[in-house]
Point group: C2
Chain length 114, copies 2
DNA sequence: CTGTATCCATGATGATACTG
DNA sequence: CAGTATCATCATGGATACAG
């Protein structure tokens, strides 16, 4: 028989907020999705992520990198090119993101009633 | 053989943002967790959700109710008492929230290295 | 091309006082 | 008890110009 201690609520909340923080911001998930779709260069992301500014793209990319979801590689061409790539680790987000998509779909039906 | 059309990225992002919006804000999940833990009355929530103000509690409860995650019941005592209860529907969030907790746990290890 | 630096607008939250 | 009203503060993001 296994004795399983329930995690205290406060601790659960802490982890949830950690997680939310990592994917928070208007652009992090759109950027990631674009990258899964093949975009690698700064300029390509700037164009494919509808409406984003260079300031926000730069900022969000840094945070994604800090959280090990993407890596940044600089190539010494002229002008320099920079390639961002999603890490294998970033795929660990997939189950959660898929859940969010599914929940969003059914919730829209539930609340809007359509 | 099944032909399955991939959902366009833009649409996925829309649903993800819908979902994030529902649980957004500093207090919605802490409130919900407190309610799962048994809190029902405004004053109890105000005390159990560490740091929340009446203004925010009131506001977030309204939004949770609008999204059908809780219901509000007024009892005509004196002074009146109000009981909030989580809806069965709110439990549909559980898989996602559990995923967030698990992801948060392993992410802290991954990034902090501990 | 790949960003950084400023400044500004808006929204989200906090503090506090007050009401039925 | 269960909130509302008002004002203050802070974080987020947008616009724009500029740099290496």
């Amino acid at each position: 028989m296994s004795i399983k201690k329930e995690m205290p609520i406060a601790e659960k909340i802490k982890y949830i907020q950690d997680t939310l923080y990592v994917i928070s911001g208007k652009w992090k998930l759109p950027i990631l999705m674009s990258m899964y779709n093949g975009c690698k260069k700064f300029r390509d992301l700037e164009r494919s992520v509808e409406g984003i500014t260079t300031r926000m793209l730069s900022k969000e990319l840094k945070e994604l990198e800090a959280n090990k979801l993407i890596t940044r590689n600089v190539y010494d061409t002229y002008p320099i090119t920079v390639e961002y790539t999603v890490t294998p680790y970033s795929y660990s987000l997939k189950p959660m993101v898929d859940e969010m998509i599914q929940w969003g779909i059914q919730h829209r039906k539930k609340v809007v009633g359509k």
